[in-house]
Structures are given as structure tokens and as C-alpha cells.
């Protein structure tokens, strides 16, 4: 039996998280098929066909799927997925929204946020904000899985030559519609794909002060992240939140500035290769996970660091 991956895309291009899902699928037995469901999404399907390891792309191109509303796409995936052993999506907000709906339609559970694959039916996943790792065996015939992208390297996006097969099925539940979106625009790398991240917390004081971190980030080619407190206070938008209930990141270098290190924040970044903490409170829990801790006022230390790079 084959493995079906639900591609994450914006109709024009494939999102990076899909490549991590492909690598996860290569650790299972079976051919790998990628479903591109969207509206006017041929370009994304062409990219999907080039991903190394993918043997077939299923292209469901219809206005009903344009904004990938879960009410419509779940019906499509449940119909197609019945013939697969595994259905996988990255655990992005898109995957998290869609996949449990698919699982329920197939009368199976979803294995959320899988970080390691032990066999075709056994998986490791974090629970309790990552303070415990559960090894779980699925008893369902079809395994519906979201994968934690930091647990799997990205597959090579070129060199493959999968066939593209058009799926005619159109499902429009007619109960939801897309109204609009406000998407953050940035020239910096995406948080979940960045090699270096500079994150700010409540200690930043206000949104303007994040300019200090942005300047540092630009020198390091880094993305800028934040703690929940900084987002709640309105310093920065929600898409920058790192943590148990925000984005999970594991860059080569994570610099936490004015962040105390609550378990919910650590859950999102403690798998980073090297962690630096800058905090004026030497007792701050962030120092317990930091490779290099600097006890200092961030308003002195950050400009100095910026100048020295």
C-alpha cells in the first residue's frame, strides 16, 4: 500500500514543510503520493512532481479547494485516503486544521506531532509540553499522522519525476467560506525554516524595541521570534510565537532575549542546537537550557552584540 501526503502550498508554490513530510514518509514502507488540492494550483503540482522520492502527484484543482477549507478538503482526502496505509501532513496550522477531520471521517484517531518513526505502526510523539515522549502503537488500519517538521530533514525538492494524475472528485460542503487574510510580509527567513532565530520576550518592553532584534537578525540572516507574553502584549504579531502552542523550532542557533523560559516556551525551542540567553535575572529558568548565558541588561548587550558582529 502507498502513503498519501497532503501537500502544503499556496496554489503557486509548495511550502517547505511538505518536504519534511516526504522524508518522514520515506521511513515507512510504500510508494509516496502527494495530493495537491487547491484552485489554479498546477504550478504547485509541477513542483510537487519534482520532489525526490515522490512517485505520483494527485492534482485536485477546483475552486472548492482554493482556500483549502477543511470542510471541503477533508471529504476529498477521506475519499482518496481510504486506499492508503498512511495519510501524512506536516503539523502546521493547515495540517492541524485538516487532518483530525479526515481521521474522524475514516473512523480512526490522528497521531499528532509525530517526531520519530519506529516502524510502520509505531511512533514517538511529545506530550505535556514536550516534558515526556510517548511511544505509541497505532491499532487503526489507516494511520493519519501529522509530523513535527523539526524531527525530519527536508527532502530534496528537485530531480524527481512523478506522474501527475488529475482527480475529478469535487467536494463542496457549502457550509464555510473564505473571507480574507492578513499575512505577515518579511524578507527574513521563515521561523520554522531558519538556521538562526533571535527571539524577544516581555523584557523587550514594547514593539519598537524589536528593531534591536531585527537589526541583529539581519546581520545573522536570522528569523525573529517571540514569546507568548510579547505577542499577548501586542509587541509583535501571533505568527511569531514560539512554544508549546505556537511554532516549534530547532535552528542551529537560538538567541532568547528578555525571555524567562517558561515550560511552554522551552517546549518550542529546546531542541535548538545552540541556545543563547540574554536576561538580566540570573535565576531565570532559560539559563537552565542555555549553552551560553549572559546576565545583562538587553538594552546594553544587544546593541553591543550587534556592533561586534
Amino acid at each position: 500500500m502507498a502513503i498519501l501526503i497532503i501537500a502544503e502550498h499556496d496554489n503557486q508554490s509548495l511550502k517547505g514543510a511538505t518536504l519534511n513530510a516526504v522524508t518522514a514518509a520515506t521511513q515507512l514502507s510504500g510508494d509516496i503520493h502527494l495530493l495537491v488540492a487547491g484552485g489554479d494550483c498546477q504550478a504547485a503540482a509541477d513542483q510537487a512532481a519534482a520532489v525526490a522520492g515522490v512517485t505520483k502527484v494527485l492534482l485536485a484543482d477546483n475552486a472548492a479547494y482554493e482556500h483549502q477549507l477543511a470542510e471541503n478538503v477533508s471529504l476529498l482526502v477521506a475519499e482518496l485516503g481510504a486506499d492508503y496505509s498512511h495519510i501524512i501532513a506536516p503539523s502546521t496550522t493547515g495540517g492541524k486544521n485538516l487532518m483530525p477531520r479526515v481521521a474522524a471521517l475514516l473512523d480512526v484517531v490522528q497521531l499528532s506531532d509525530v517526531m520519530a518513526i519506529e516502524s510502520d505502526d509505531t511512533f514517538a510523539r511529545p506530550i505535556y509540553a514536550g516534558n515526556a515522549i510517548a511511544t505509541v502503537k497505532s491499532l487503526d488500519a489507516i494511520k493519519v499522522i501529522t509530523i513535527r517538521t523539526t524531527g525530519f530533514d527536508a527532502a530534496v525538492s528537485e530531480g524527481g519525476s512523478a506522474t501527475i494524475e488529475t482527480v475529478a472528485a469535487v467536494h463542496d460542503a457549502g457550509i464555510s467560506s473564505f473571507i480574507g487574510e492578513t499575512m505577515a510580509k518579511s524578507d527574513r527567513p521563515e521561523l520554522t525554516a531558519a538556521k538562526v532565530i533571535v527571539s524577544g520576550g516581555r523584557g523587550m518592553g514594547n514593539g519598537e524595541n524589536f528593531a534591536l532584534l531585527e537589526s541583529l537578525a539581519d546581520k545573522l540572516g536570522a528569523a525573529v521570534g517571540a514569546s507568548r507574553a510579547a505577542v499577548d502584549a501586542g509587541f509583535v504579531p501571533n505568527d511569531m510565537q514560539v512554544g508549546q502552542t505556537g511554532k516549534i523550532v530547532a535552528p542551529d542557533l537560538y538567541i532568547a532575549v528578555g525571555i524567562s523560559g517558561a515550560i511552554q516556551h522551552l517546549a518550542g525551542m529546546k531542541d535548538s542546537k545552540v541556545i543563547v540567553a540574554i536576561n538580566k535575572d540570573e535565576e531565570a529558568p532559560i539559563f537552565s537550557v542555555a549553552d551560553y548565558g549572559l546576565v545583562a541588561d538587553l538594552f546594553d548587550a544587544v546593541p553591543e552584540l550587534d556592533a561586534k558582529l
Binding site: 492541524k96 505535556y128 464555510s176 467560506s177 501571533n238 545552540v274 551560553y292 549572559l294
Partner: protein, 249 residues
Amino acid sequence: MKVLVTVKRVIDYNVKVRVKSDGSDVDLNNVKMAMNPFCEIAVEEAVRLKEAGVASEIVVVSLGPQAAQEQIRTALALGADRGILIQSDANLESLTVAKLLAKVVAEEQPGLVIMGKQAIDSDNNQTGQMLAALTQMPQGTFASEVKVDGDKVQVTREVDGGLQTVELAMPAIVTTDLRLNEPRYASLPNIMKAKRKPLDTKTPEELGVEIKAHTQLLKVAPPAARQAGIKVASVEELVDKLKNEAKVI
């Protein structure tokens, strides 16, 4: 309009859980329990809808052991009108919870179901979406704003790239994200009043839902521990370490 809110009894979010020494599960003995924070946000949203005259009645549901009555009472003290406990000491997986809730939805016929986006114990983030599938309702997950307008509800959702707004035909399901509201605390008089509000208890058998195992927990282990790091004395030393020791810049 009737609003149904779900609440889960979980470990208090300030407590760091420990794994049992035999690796069979986490140790919840004598651990402080509380209402899941995302469920608190769900209760608050329902209460605000009632205060705004949009909701007429708030029914709060929990599934779990008898002790989950505490979390229902808390929701009643915050402004919910009556409670339902689906009592079971079994391990209830998300799909089973969704099936049980679907029975309650069929009985109560709410216009809106508000749930937390994830429980901080299992971190699954799936029950709301599953209930939506089983009841064929639309879903507004990870909500940061909910606006009811006639027989439709507009939900602004926190998504990876920013914010997305969808319009859903009611009845609909909303799951809460952190920025939806700031939950209030219950006042002492309201805690007293809550003790007299109705609380029904049902069992999965009464609702006709079989508790089926879809997964088997093989083991639970603590995460890989990080090596203790060092404190650097100056920015200069930090730059030196990052360049020459860690080699990450």
C-alpha cells in the same frame, strides 16, 4: 441560541510533569489539576456571548472521572448555566470523546460549540475538528475573534502566516487560541451560586458509545536532557564562543 462549551480536567499548566520510573506513563499522583487553559478561554467566550445577548443558555460538558465535576463547577461559577459530566475512568481517546460529544450535540442542538484548541496534557489538537466532522458542522479552529451575525459566524483564525477569516454557517464549532480573550476569575458569591446549578451525570454506555482503543501506549520517557551550559562574562566572550567553540556564526 444555546452554546455548548467543553472543559477538560488536566494537570495545572505551572506544573512540570514527571515520568514514572517504570516508563509506563507520566506520574499524576498528588499533582495539582485544573481546567485546561484553552477551555477557560472557551468558557469566557461563551459568557461574553451571553452578556452580549447573543447566547441565551450555556451548557458545559466534561468527560472524565468524577473529579472532573470540579472543572464543571468552575465553569458554572464563571457563568455557564448547567453542566453535564460524561463519567468514565477509562482512557478516552480523542475520537471517543468526539463521538460522545456528538451524542450530546444531537440532544442539545446548540447553535455554537466552543472548545479549546488543544489540551495541555496530550497536546493532540484534534477533538474539535473530529466533532465537526462527525456532526458535519463547519469549524473555526485557533480562533482569535468570533463574531456571530444572524445564522452565520465569522471566525478570525491564527494561522502560520498571520490571520485568516472564514465565515461559517451555524451550527458551527469554534476552537480557541490564546488571543481570543482574557478569562476572568470567578467571584466568591458566584462560586457559591454555582453549587446550586444543575449538573447531570451520564455514562458512555447510556449514550451508546463503545470505548474502543485505537492506540496502545508502549512507553513514556523523559525527553533528551540538554548538557548544562556556561555563563559568559561579556558580549565579547559570547561572540568568541559562538565563533570559535560552537561555530554557529
